[in-house]
Amino acid sequence: MRRRPSAAFWVMVVLLTLLVIVPLLWMVITSFKTVGESQADPPTLIPQDPSGRAFGEVLTTGGQNPVLRWALNSFAAATLHAALVVVVASMAGYALARMEFRGKNFIFSFILLTLFIPGFVFLMPNYLLMDNLGWLDTLWALVVPGAAGAFGVFFMRQFFLAIPKELEEVALIDGANAWIVFTRIILPNAKPALATLTVLSFLANWNDFVWPLFVLFSPERLTLPAGLSLLQGAYTTDYPVIMAGATVAAVPVLILYVFVQRYVIEGVARSGIKG
Protein backbone atom coordinates (compact mmCIF):
# COMPACT_ATOMS: atom_id res chain seq x y z
CA MET A 1 0.00 0.00 0.00
CA ARG A 2 2.77 2.41 0.93
CA ARG A 3 6.22 3.08 -0.34
CA ARG A 4 9.08 0.80 0.59
CA PRO A 5 11.05 1.97 3.60
CA SER A 6 13.86 4.30 2.60
CA ALA A 7 17.48 4.24 3.76
CA ALA A 8 16.75 7.06 6.17
CA PHE A 9 14.06 4.91 7.67
CA TRP A 10 16.48 2.07 8.26
CA VAL A 11 19.05 4.39 9.79
CA MET A 12 16.39 5.58 12.17
CA VAL A 13 15.33 2.07 13.11
CA VAL A 14 18.88 0.93 13.72
CA LEU A 15 19.81 4.06 15.69
CA LEU A 16 16.84 3.53 17.96
CA THR A 17 17.80 -0.09 18.42
CA LEU A 18 21.31 0.94 19.41
CA LEU A 19 19.83 3.45 21.80
CA VAL A 20 18.10 0.60 23.57
CA ILE A 21 20.93 -1.88 23.43
CA VAL A 22 24.01 0.22 24.19
CA PRO A 23 23.06 1.16 27.77
CA LEU A 24 22.27 -2.49 28.51
CA LEU A 25 25.53 -3.58 26.98
CA TRP A 26 27.39 -1.00 29.01
CA MET A 27 25.78 -2.34 32.15
CA VAL A 28 26.97 -5.85 31.37
CA ILE A 29 30.48 -4.72 30.44
CA THR A 30 30.85 -2.69 33.61
CA SER A 31 29.88 -5.62 35.77
CA PHE A 32 33.11 -7.35 34.74
CA LYS A 33 35.34 -4.42 35.60
CA THR A 34 37.24 -3.67 38.77
CA VAL A 35 36.08 -0.78 40.92
CA GLY A 36 39.02 1.33 39.81
CA GLU A 37 38.43 0.69 36.15
CA SER A 38 34.72 1.39 36.48
CA GLN A 39 35.62 4.89 37.61
CA ALA A 40 38.22 5.53 34.96
CA ASP A 41 37.97 8.77 33.05
CA PRO A 42 37.76 8.31 30.11
CA PRO A 43 35.99 4.97 30.45
CA THR A 44 37.50 1.84 28.92
CA LEU A 45 35.30 0.07 26.42
CA ILE A 46 36.55 -3.43 27.16
CA PRO A 47 37.38 -4.56 30.70
CA GLN A 48 41.18 -4.49 30.92
CA ASP A 49 41.29 -6.83 33.85
CA PRO A 50 38.02 -8.78 33.63
CA SER A 51 36.85 -10.07 36.97
CA GLY A 52 33.89 -12.06 38.17
CA ARG A 53 34.13 -10.56 41.66
CA ALA A 54 31.00 -8.46 41.23
CA PHE A 55 28.95 -11.48 40.25
CA GLY A 56 30.34 -13.30 43.26
CA GLU A 57 28.95 -10.54 45.45
CA VAL A 58 25.47 -10.80 44.04
CA LEU A 59 25.22 -14.53 43.43
CA THR A 60 26.73 -16.11 46.51
CA THR A 61 24.05 -17.97 48.36
CA GLY A 62 23.46 -16.79 51.86
CA GLY A 63 25.11 -13.51 51.05
CA GLN A 64 23.43 -10.23 51.60
CA ASN A 65 22.43 -9.77 47.98
CA PRO A 66 20.49 -12.82 46.82
CA VAL A 67 19.55 -11.25 43.50
CA LEU A 68 18.26 -14.50 42.04
CA ARG A 69 16.14 -15.00 45.10
CA TRP A 70 14.76 -11.51 44.60
CA ALA A 71 13.97 -12.35 40.99
CA LEU A 72 12.16 -15.45 42.16
CA ASN A 73 10.20 -13.46 44.74
CA SER A 74 9.25 -10.91 42.11
CA PHE A 75 8.18 -13.61 39.74
CA ALA A 76 6.12 -15.41 42.35
CA ALA A 77 4.46 -12.23 43.53
CA ALA A 78 3.63 -11.03 40.03
CA THR A 79 2.30 -14.42 38.97
CA LEU A 80 0.09 -14.91 42.01
CA HIS A 81 -1.08 -11.32 41.76
CA ALA A 82 -2.01 -11.69 38.11
CA ALA A 83 -3.84 -14.94 38.84
CA LEU A 84 -5.81 -13.37 41.65
CA VAL A 85 -6.73 -10.35 39.56
CA VAL A 86 -7.90 -12.49 36.69
CA VAL A 87 -10.08 -14.66 38.91
CA VAL A 88 -11.79 -11.98 40.94
CA ALA A 89 -12.03 -9.44 38.14
CA SER A 90 -13.52 -11.82 35.61
CA MET A 91 -16.12 -13.04 38.10
CA ALA A 92 -17.08 -9.55 39.15
CA GLY A 93 -16.89 -8.24 35.61
CA TYR A 94 -19.20 -11.01 34.45
CA ALA A 95 -21.79 -10.27 37.12
CA LEU A 96 -21.70 -6.58 36.31
CA ALA A 97 -21.96 -7.17 32.58
CA ARG A 98 -24.50 -9.92 32.42
CA MET A 99 -26.60 -10.14 35.52
CA GLU A 100 -29.41 -8.03 36.85
CA PHE A 101 -29.52 -7.40 40.54
CA ARG A 102 -30.34 -4.73 43.01
CA GLY A 103 -27.62 -2.19 43.54
CA LYS A 104 -25.80 -3.10 40.33
CA ASN A 105 -25.50 0.43 39.03
CA PHE A 106 -24.54 1.76 42.39
CA ILE A 107 -21.83 -0.84 42.85
CA PHE A 108 -20.46 -0.35 39.37
CA SER A 109 -20.37 3.44 39.61
CA PHE A 110 -18.68 3.15 42.96
CA ILE A 111 -15.99 0.86 41.60
CA LEU A 112 -15.53 3.08 38.59
CA LEU A 113 -15.13 6.13 40.80
CA THR A 114 -12.17 4.59 42.61
CA LEU A 115 -10.43 4.09 39.27
CA PHE A 116 -9.54 7.75 39.52
CA ILE A 117 -8.14 7.75 43.04
CA PRO A 118 -4.35 7.74 42.77
CA GLY A 119 -2.65 4.82 44.46
CA PHE A 120 -0.56 6.82 46.90
CA VAL A 121 -3.69 7.68 48.86
CA PHE A 122 -3.82 4.05 50.00
CA LEU A 123 -0.16 3.85 50.92
CA MET A 124 -0.38 4.73 54.61
CA PRO A 125 -3.69 3.06 55.52
CA ASN A 126 -2.91 -0.11 53.61
CA TYR A 127 0.46 -0.28 55.27
CA LEU A 128 -1.25 -0.25 58.65
CA LEU A 129 -3.63 -2.89 57.42
CA MET A 130 -0.69 -5.07 56.40
CA ASP A 131 0.79 -4.57 59.83
CA ASN A 132 -2.44 -5.64 61.51
CA LEU A 133 -2.88 -8.64 59.25
CA GLY A 134 0.69 -9.69 59.93
CA TRP A 135 1.41 -9.38 56.23
CA LEU A 136 4.36 -7.04 56.39
CA ASP A 137 7.43 -8.64 54.88
CA THR A 138 5.36 -11.37 53.24
CA LEU A 139 4.32 -12.21 49.71
CA TRP A 140 0.68 -11.55 50.61
CA ALA A 141 1.31 -7.84 50.95
CA LEU A 142 2.47 -7.79 47.33
CA VAL A 143 -0.17 -10.10 45.93
CA VAL A 144 -3.47 -9.19 47.51
CA PRO A 145 -4.08 -5.46 48.11
CA GLY A 146 -3.29 -4.51 44.52
CA ALA A 147 -5.92 -6.95 43.28
CA ALA A 148 -8.61 -4.67 44.68
CA GLY A 149 -7.95 -2.15 41.91
CA ALA A 150 -10.89 -1.23 39.72
CA PHE A 151 -9.19 -1.58 36.36
CA GLY A 152 -9.51 -5.36 36.01
CA VAL A 153 -13.21 -5.41 36.79
CA PHE A 154 -13.89 -2.55 34.46
CA PHE A 155 -11.82 -4.11 31.70
CA MET A 156 -13.48 -7.51 31.98
CA ARG A 157 -16.95 -6.01 32.14
CA GLN A 158 -16.39 -4.13 28.92
CA PHE A 159 -15.23 -7.30 27.29
CA PHE A 160 -18.12 -9.44 28.49
CA LEU A 161 -20.60 -6.85 27.28
CA ALA A 162 -19.34 -7.60 23.79
CA ILE A 163 -19.91 -11.36 23.96
CA PRO A 164 -23.24 -12.41 22.43
CA LYS A 165 -25.89 -13.57 24.86
CA GLU A 166 -27.10 -16.48 22.81
CA LEU A 167 -24.14 -18.54 23.89
CA GLU A 168 -25.10 -18.53 27.52
CA GLU A 169 -28.83 -18.52 27.00
CA VAL A 170 -28.76 -21.88 25.32
CA ALA A 171 -26.75 -23.37 28.10
CA LEU A 172 -28.96 -21.90 30.76
CA ILE A 173 -32.04 -23.34 29.09
CA ASP A 174 -30.29 -26.69 29.15
CA GLY A 175 -30.26 -26.34 32.89
CA ALA A 176 -26.62 -25.47 33.43
CA ASN A 177 -26.04 -23.21 36.40
CA ALA A 178 -24.38 -19.84 36.21
CA TRP A 179 -21.02 -21.10 37.39
CA ILE A 180 -20.88 -23.76 34.70
CA VAL A 181 -21.89 -21.24 32.07
CA PHE A 182 -19.19 -18.89 33.30
CA THR A 183 -16.40 -21.41 33.44
CA ARG A 184 -17.29 -23.56 30.42
CA ILE A 185 -18.64 -21.00 28.00
CA ILE A 186 -17.73 -17.48 28.94
CA LEU A 187 -14.15 -17.88 30.06
CA PRO A 188 -13.02 -19.93 27.05
CA ASN A 189 -14.42 -17.16 24.87
CA ALA A 190 -12.63 -14.54 26.88
CA LYS A 191 -9.11 -15.87 26.47
CA PRO A 192 -7.67 -12.80 24.73
CA ALA A 193 -9.04 -10.50 27.40
CA LEU A 194 -7.83 -12.78 30.16
CA ALA A 195 -4.40 -12.91 28.58
CA THR A 196 -4.29 -9.14 28.34
CA LEU A 197 -5.33 -8.68 31.92
CA THR A 198 -2.76 -11.25 33.03
CA VAL A 199 0.01 -9.46 31.19
CA LEU A 200 -0.96 -6.02 32.46
CA SER A 201 -1.34 -7.18 36.05
CA PHE A 202 1.92 -9.07 35.92
CA LEU A 203 3.81 -6.10 34.49
CA ALA A 204 2.27 -3.65 36.95
CA ASN A 205 3.23 -5.86 39.85
CA TRP A 206 6.67 -6.62 38.45
CA ASN A 207 7.41 -2.92 38.03
CA ASP A 208 5.94 -1.81 41.32
CA PHE A 209 8.56 -0.03 43.33
CA VAL A 210 7.17 2.13 46.12
CA TRP A 211 5.02 -0.47 47.83
CA PRO A 212 7.53 -3.34 48.10
CA LEU A 213 10.22 -0.86 49.12
CA PHE A 214 8.35 -0.20 52.33
CA VAL A 215 6.38 -3.35 53.13
CA LEU A 216 9.37 -5.68 52.77
CA PHE A 217 12.53 -5.64 54.84
CA SER A 218 14.20 -9.03 55.26
CA PRO A 219 17.01 -9.29 52.72
CA GLU A 220 15.82 -12.66 51.44
CA ARG A 221 12.21 -11.58 51.07
CA LEU A 222 12.68 -8.55 48.84
CA THR A 223 11.54 -8.23 45.28
CA LEU A 224 13.92 -7.14 42.56
CA PRO A 225 13.07 -3.43 42.64
CA ALA A 226 13.28 -3.24 46.42
CA GLY A 227 16.40 -5.37 46.56
CA LEU A 228 18.25 -3.49 43.85
CA SER A 229 17.49 -0.21 45.54
CA LEU A 230 19.01 -1.54 48.74
CA LEU A 231 21.96 -2.89 46.81
CA GLN A 232 22.64 0.53 45.32
CA GLY A 233 22.50 2.09 48.76
CA ALA A 234 24.82 -0.49 50.28
CA TYR A 235 27.46 -0.37 47.55
CA THR A 236 27.33 3.38 46.86
CA THR A 237 30.18 3.69 44.36
CA ASP A 238 31.06 0.04 43.77
CA TYR A 239 29.53 0.18 40.31
CA PRO A 240 30.63 -3.24 39.08
CA VAL A 241 28.61 -4.85 41.87
CA ILE A 242 25.64 -2.58 41.25
CA MET A 243 25.77 -3.30 37.52
CA ALA A 244 26.16 -7.03 38.17
CA GLY A 245 23.05 -6.87 40.33
CA ALA A 246 21.17 -5.07 37.59
CA THR A 247 22.45 -7.54 35.01
CA VAL A 248 21.41 -10.56 37.03
CA ALA A 249 18.02 -8.93 37.47
CA ALA A 250 17.66 -8.08 33.79
CA VAL A 251 18.80 -11.28 32.11
CA PRO A 252 16.08 -13.70 33.23
CA VAL A 253 13.41 -11.12 32.45
CA LEU A 254 14.78 -10.52 29.00
CA ILE A 255 15.00 -14.23 28.30
CA LEU A 256 11.43 -14.72 29.43
CA TYR A 257 10.43 -11.72 27.39
CA VAL A 258 11.91 -13.17 24.21
CA PHE A 259 9.49 -16.08 24.50
CA VAL A 260 6.38 -14.20 25.50
CA GLN A 261 6.97 -10.83 23.87
CA ARG A 262 4.13 -11.34 21.41
CA TYR A 263 1.60 -11.83 24.19
CA VAL A 264 3.03 -9.00 26.23
CA ILE A 265 2.83 -6.58 23.36
CA GLU A 266 -0.61 -7.70 22.32
CA GLY A 267 -1.72 -7.37 25.90
CA VAL A 268 -0.44 -3.85 26.21
CA ALA A 269 -1.87 -2.92 22.82
CA ARG A 270 -5.29 -3.88 24.09
CA SER A 271 -5.01 -1.93 27.34
CA GLY A 272 -6.17 1.17 25.54
CA ILE A 273 -9.31 -0.63 24.56
CA LYS A 274 -11.53 1.86 26.28
CA GLY A 275 -9.63 4.98 25.27
Binding site: F9, W26, D41, P43, F101, L123, L129, K165
Partner: protein, 313 residues
Protein backbone atom coordinates in the same frame (compact mmCIF):
# COMPACT_ATOMS: atom_id res chain seq x y z
CA UNK B 1 -11.18 0.93 19.90
CA UNK B 2 -9.04 -2.10 19.22
CA UNK B 3 -11.40 -5.01 18.83
CA UNK B 4 -10.82 -8.47 20.17
CA UNK B 5 -10.20 -10.96 17.44
CA UNK B 6 -12.72 -13.47 18.66
CA UNK B 7 -15.28 -11.00 19.83
CA UNK B 8 -15.06 -8.85 16.78
CA UNK B 9 -17.24 -10.98 14.59
CA UNK B 10 -19.76 -11.38 17.34
CA UNK B 11 -19.90 -7.77 18.23
CA UNK B 12 -22.37 -6.82 15.55
CA UNK B 13 -24.98 -8.93 17.18
CA UNK B 14 -24.50 -7.20 20.43
CA UNK B 15 -27.19 -4.62 19.85
CA UNK B 16 -29.83 -7.28 20.21
CA UNK B 17 -28.70 -8.26 23.64
CA UNK B 18 -30.43 -5.74 25.79
CA UNK B 19 -30.93 -7.25 29.20
CA UNK B 20 -28.93 -9.67 31.27
CA UNK B 21 -29.12 -13.41 31.12
CA UNK B 22 -31.77 -14.96 33.32
CA UNK B 23 -31.80 -18.38 34.84
CA UNK B 24 -29.71 -17.98 37.95
CA UNK B 25 -30.57 -17.66 41.59
CA UNK B 26 -31.04 -14.37 43.31
CA UNK B 27 -27.83 -14.73 45.25
CA UNK B 28 -25.74 -15.70 42.24
CA UNK B 29 -24.67 -12.20 41.14
CA UNK B 30 -23.60 -11.37 44.64
CA UNK B 31 -21.64 -14.58 44.90
CA UNK B 32 -19.83 -13.69 41.69
CA UNK B 33 -19.11 -10.26 43.03
CA UNK B 34 -18.22 -11.36 46.54
CA UNK B 35 -14.51 -12.12 46.15
CA UNK B 36 -13.81 -8.83 44.45
CA UNK B 37 -16.04 -6.80 46.71
CA UNK B 38 -14.36 -8.28 49.73
CA UNK B 39 -10.98 -7.07 48.46
CA UNK B 40 -12.50 -3.81 47.33
CA UNK B 41 -13.96 -2.99 50.73
CA UNK B 42 -10.94 -4.20 52.61
CA UNK B 43 -8.21 -2.59 50.52
CA UNK B 44 -9.87 0.33 48.75
CA UNK B 45 -12.93 1.69 50.51
CA UNK B 46 -11.78 0.97 54.03
CA UNK B 47 -8.31 2.45 53.58
CA UNK B 48 -9.63 5.48 51.69
CA UNK B 49 -11.83 6.36 54.64
CA UNK B 50 -9.38 5.26 57.27
CA UNK B 51 -6.72 7.45 55.63
CA UNK B 52 -8.87 10.51 56.25
CA UNK B 53 -9.25 9.49 59.88
CA UNK B 54 -5.47 9.07 60.14
CA UNK B 55 -4.87 12.47 58.64
CA UNK B 56 -6.73 14.01 61.58
CA UNK B 57 -4.25 12.52 64.06
CA UNK B 58 -0.61 12.62 64.90
CA UNK B 59 -0.49 8.99 63.88
CA UNK B 60 2.51 6.88 64.72
CA UNK B 61 1.52 3.28 64.31
CA UNK B 62 4.09 1.92 66.72
CA UNK B 63 3.18 4.18 69.60
CA UNK B 64 0.19 3.78 71.87
CA UNK B 65 -0.49 7.52 71.80
CA UNK B 66 -2.08 8.83 68.59
CA UNK B 67 -3.32 12.28 69.61
CA UNK B 68 -6.25 13.72 67.68
CA UNK B 69 -5.21 16.99 66.06
CA UNK B 70 -8.25 17.90 63.96
CA UNK B 71 -7.35 19.68 60.75
CA UNK B 72 -3.93 20.68 62.06
CA UNK B 73 -2.05 18.42 59.63
CA UNK B 74 -3.79 20.15 56.72
CA UNK B 75 -3.36 23.62 58.19
CA UNK B 76 0.32 22.93 58.70
CA UNK B 77 0.72 22.32 54.98
CA UNK B 78 -0.30 25.93 54.43
CA UNK B 79 1.70 27.34 57.30
CA UNK B 80 5.21 28.24 56.16
CA UNK B 81 6.40 27.99 59.73
CA UNK B 82 5.40 24.34 60.10
CA UNK B 83 7.73 21.40 59.69
CA UNK B 84 5.78 19.87 56.82
CA UNK B 85 4.90 22.76 54.54
CA UNK B 86 8.27 23.40 52.98
CA UNK B 87 9.21 19.84 52.08
CA UNK B 88 5.72 19.18 50.81
CA UNK B 89 5.51 22.17 48.49
CA UNK B 90 9.04 21.62 47.27
CA UNK B 91 7.97 18.08 46.47
CA UNK B 92 4.90 19.37 44.67
CA UNK B 93 7.11 21.69 42.66
CA UNK B 94 9.45 18.86 41.68
CA UNK B 95 6.55 16.62 40.71
CA UNK B 96 4.92 19.48 38.81
CA UNK B 97 8.05 20.32 36.86
CA UNK B 98 8.68 16.69 36.03
CA UNK B 99 5.10 16.15 34.89
CA UNK B 100 5.04 19.26 32.73
CA UNK B 101 8.37 18.38 31.18
CA UNK B 102 7.80 14.68 30.66
CA UNK B 103 4.22 14.29 29.46
CA UNK B 104 4.73 16.01 26.08
CA UNK B 105 7.75 13.82 25.32
CA UNK B 106 6.01 10.71 26.55
CA UNK B 107 3.22 11.39 24.08
CA UNK B 108 5.13 12.68 21.05
CA UNK B 109 8.07 10.26 21.06
CA UNK B 110 5.87 7.15 21.31
CA UNK B 111 3.63 8.53 18.59
CA UNK B 112 6.67 8.84 16.34
CA UNK B 113 7.74 5.33 17.24
CA UNK B 114 4.27 4.02 16.51
CA UNK B 115 4.19 5.68 13.11
CA UNK B 116 7.59 4.17 12.39
CA UNK B 117 6.45 0.71 13.44
CA UNK B 118 3.21 1.00 11.52
CA UNK B 119 5.15 0.70 8.29
CA UNK B 120 5.53 -2.75 6.84
CA UNK B 121 9.16 -3.78 6.82
CA UNK B 122 11.15 -6.95 7.40
CA UNK B 123 11.98 -7.52 11.08
CA UNK B 124 9.19 -5.29 12.24
CA UNK B 125 8.11 -7.62 15.04
CA UNK B 126 11.69 -7.84 16.22
CA UNK B 127 12.17 -4.08 16.38
CA UNK B 128 8.82 -3.65 18.04
CA UNK B 129 9.94 -6.08 20.73
CA UNK B 130 13.28 -4.29 21.12
CA UNK B 131 11.69 -0.88 21.60
CA UNK B 132 9.33 -2.26 24.19
CA UNK B 133 12.02 -4.21 26.06
CA UNK B 134 13.16 -1.42 28.44
CA UNK B 135 9.72 -1.39 29.97
CA UNK B 136 9.91 -4.96 31.21
CA UNK B 137 13.21 -4.30 32.96
CA UNK B 138 11.52 -2.23 35.59
CA UNK B 139 12.51 1.02 37.17
CA UNK B 140 15.14 -0.44 39.48
CA UNK B 141 17.36 -1.88 36.75
CA UNK B 142 16.94 1.27 34.72
CA UNK B 143 17.65 3.54 37.66
CA UNK B 144 20.86 1.76 38.61
CA UNK B 145 22.04 1.56 35.04
CA UNK B 146 21.50 5.23 34.25
CA UNK B 147 22.87 6.43 37.57
CA UNK B 148 26.17 5.04 36.36
CA UNK B 149 25.84 6.11 32.73
CA UNK B 150 24.99 9.66 33.78
CA UNK B 151 27.79 10.06 36.31
CA UNK B 152 29.49 13.41 35.88
CA UNK B 153 33.11 12.31 35.96
CA UNK B 154 33.18 8.71 34.76
CA UNK B 155 29.80 8.28 33.10
CA UNK B 156 29.91 7.12 29.51
CA UNK B 157 27.45 9.75 28.36
CA UNK B 158 29.75 12.60 29.29
CA UNK B 159 32.67 10.69 27.80
CA UNK B 160 30.70 10.29 24.57
CA UNK B 161 29.72 13.95 24.50
CA UNK B 162 33.31 14.84 25.28
CA UNK B 163 34.27 13.38 21.91
CA UNK B 164 32.34 16.25 20.37
CA UNK B 165 34.01 18.74 22.65
CA UNK B 166 31.04 19.14 24.98
CA UNK B 167 32.21 19.85 28.52
CA UNK B 168 31.18 17.66 31.44
CA UNK B 169 27.55 18.00 32.39
CA UNK B 170 26.32 17.30 35.90
CA UNK B 171 23.39 15.13 34.86
CA UNK B 172 22.60 14.14 38.40
CA UNK B 173 24.03 17.09 40.28
CA UNK B 174 23.07 20.25 38.42
CA UNK B 175 19.85 21.83 37.28
CA UNK B 176 18.27 21.92 34.79
CA UNK B 177 20.26 18.84 33.74
CA UNK B 178 18.88 16.65 36.50
CA UNK B 179 15.36 17.16 35.18
CA UNK B 180 16.54 16.67 31.60
CA UNK B 181 18.12 13.39 32.67
CA UNK B 182 15.06 12.20 34.56
CA UNK B 183 12.75 12.99 31.67
CA UNK B 184 15.07 11.34 29.15
CA UNK B 185 15.44 8.21 31.24
CA UNK B 186 11.69 8.01 31.70
CA UNK B 187 11.19 8.34 27.95
CA UNK B 188 13.81 5.64 27.36
CA UNK B 189 12.03 3.40 29.82
CA UNK B 190 8.36 3.85 28.93
CA UNK B 191 8.20 5.15 25.37
CA UNK B 192 7.80 1.60 24.09
CA UNK B 193 4.77 1.07 26.27
CA UNK B 194 2.90 4.10 25.00
CA UNK B 195 4.05 3.39 21.45
CA UNK B 196 2.43 -0.03 21.49
CA UNK B 197 -0.88 1.50 22.54
CA UNK B 198 -0.57 4.13 19.82
CA UNK B 199 0.28 1.43 17.33
CA UNK B 200 -2.91 -0.44 18.18
CA UNK B 201 -4.75 2.83 17.65
CA UNK B 202 -3.08 3.37 14.30
CA UNK B 203 -3.97 -0.09 13.12
CA UNK B 204 -7.58 0.61 14.01
CA UNK B 205 -7.79 3.48 11.58
CA UNK B 206 -9.46 2.04 8.49
CA UNK B 207 -7.22 1.90 5.45
CA UNK B 208 -10.07 3.32 3.37
CA UNK B 209 -9.62 6.67 5.08
CA UNK B 210 -6.04 6.88 3.88
CA UNK B 211 -7.04 5.76 0.41
CA UNK B 212 -9.72 8.42 0.31
CA UNK B 213 -7.27 11.07 1.45
CA UNK B 214 -4.77 9.93 -1.14
CA UNK B 215 -7.41 10.23 -3.84
CA UNK B 216 -7.99 13.77 -2.66
CA UNK B 217 -4.32 14.38 -3.32
CA UNK B 218 -3.23 14.62 0.30
CA UNK B 219 0.50 14.15 0.86
CA UNK B 220 1.97 12.10 3.70
CA UNK B 221 1.99 15.02 6.13
CA UNK B 222 -1.56 15.99 5.29
CA UNK B 223 -2.67 12.41 5.72
CA UNK B 224 -1.03 12.39 9.12
CA UNK B 225 -2.72 15.67 10.10
CA UNK B 226 -6.14 14.90 8.77
CA UNK B 227 -6.51 11.16 9.12
CA UNK B 228 -4.03 9.82 11.64
CA UNK B 229 -4.29 12.44 14.38
CA UNK B 230 -8.09 12.65 14.47
CA UNK B 231 -8.27 8.86 14.35
CA UNK B 232 -5.95 8.65 17.32
CA UNK B 233 -7.84 11.09 19.49
CA UNK B 234 -9.37 8.53 21.88
CA UNK B 235 -6.05 6.69 22.29
CA UNK B 236 -4.30 10.00 22.85
CA UNK B 237 -6.70 10.94 25.61
CA UNK B 238 -6.10 7.56 27.20
CA UNK B 239 -2.33 7.88 26.93
CA UNK B 240 -2.25 11.42 28.23
CA UNK B 241 -4.30 10.33 31.21
CA UNK B 242 -2.21 7.32 32.18
CA UNK B 243 1.02 9.22 31.54
CA UNK B 244 -0.11 12.14 33.62
CA UNK B 245 -0.92 9.78 36.46
CA UNK B 246 2.37 7.93 36.11
CA UNK B 247 4.37 11.16 36.05
CA UNK B 248 2.59 12.49 39.10
CA UNK B 249 3.56 9.25 40.83
CA UNK B 250 7.21 9.65 39.89
CA UNK B 251 9.40 8.10 42.53
CA UNK B 252 11.85 5.41 41.49
CA UNK B 253 13.84 7.34 38.90
CA UNK B 254 14.43 10.27 41.23
CA UNK B 255 15.22 8.04 44.18
CA UNK B 256 17.77 5.96 42.29
CA UNK B 257 19.29 8.46 39.90
CA UNK B 258 19.34 11.88 41.51
CA UNK B 259 18.51 10.87 45.07
CA UNK B 260 16.26 13.91 45.12
CA UNK B 261 19.17 16.21 44.39
CA UNK B 262 20.72 18.59 43.65
CA UNK B 263 19.45 20.07 46.90
CA UNK B 264 15.89 18.86 47.08
CA UNK B 265 14.99 19.96 43.57
CA UNK B 266 14.06 16.49 42.30
CA UNK B 267 12.64 15.19 45.56
CA UNK B 268 9.13 14.48 44.34
CA UNK B 269 5.91 14.76 46.29
CA UNK B 270 5.68 11.01 46.59
CA UNK B 271 9.20 10.87 48.00
CA UNK B 272 8.23 13.47 50.58
CA UNK B 273 5.09 11.54 51.49
CA UNK B 274 6.86 8.23 51.93
CA UNK B 275 9.67 9.87 53.85
CA UNK B 276 7.24 11.55 56.22
CA UNK B 277 5.14 8.45 56.69
CA UNK B 278 7.59 5.57 56.60
CA UNK B 279 10.88 7.11 57.68
CA UNK B 280 9.70 9.69 60.17
CA UNK B 281 6.67 7.57 61.09
CA UNK B 282 4.38 10.59 60.83
CA UNK B 283 1.63 8.85 58.97
CA UNK B 284 -1.03 11.36 59.89
CA UNK B 285 0.89 14.14 58.20
CA UNK B 286 1.75 11.86 55.29
CA UNK B 287 -1.93 11.01 54.82
CA UNK B 288 -2.87 14.66 54.82
CA UNK B 289 -0.21 15.24 52.17
CA UNK B 290 -1.48 12.43 49.98
CA UNK B 291 -5.05 13.69 50.09
CA UNK B 292 -3.94 17.19 49.21
CA UNK B 293 -1.84 15.82 46.36
CA UNK B 294 -4.79 13.74 45.16
CA UNK B 295 -7.00 16.83 45.12
CA UNK B 296 -4.40 18.81 43.16
CA UNK B 297 -4.07 15.93 40.76
CA UNK B 298 -7.79 15.70 40.12
CA UNK B 299 -7.89 19.44 39.42
CA UNK B 300 -5.12 19.01 36.87
CA UNK B 301 -6.94 16.03 35.37
CA UNK B 302 -10.17 18.02 35.07
CA UNK B 303 -8.37 20.89 33.38
CA UNK B 304 -6.70 18.49 30.96
CA UNK B 305 -9.99 16.89 30.08
CA UNK B 306 -11.61 20.29 29.60
CA UNK B 307 -8.80 21.38 27.30
CA UNK B 308 -8.98 18.23 25.23
CA UNK B 309 -12.71 18.53 24.87
CA UNK B 310 -12.43 22.14 23.80
CA UNK B 311 -9.99 21.30 21.08
CA UNK B 312 -12.39 18.69 19.87
CA UNK B 313 -15.33 21.06 19.33
Amino acid sequence: MAAEASAGTLRRRRARASTGVRGYGRATPYLFLAPYLLLFVLFVIGPAIFGIWMSLHDWDFQLPGKPFVGLQNYKDLFDPLSATAEPFWHGMRATGIFTLASVPFLVVVPLGLAVLLNRKFPGRTFFRAVYFAPYVLGVAVIGLMFRYILDTTFGILNAFLGVFGIPEIGWTTEQPWAFVALVAVTVWWTAGFNAIIFLAGLQDIPAEQYEAAELDGANTWQQFRNVTLPGLRPVTVFIVTITLLASANMFGQALLITQGGPGDTTRTALMVITDTGFSQFRMGQASAMSYLLAICLSIVALITFALMRERKS
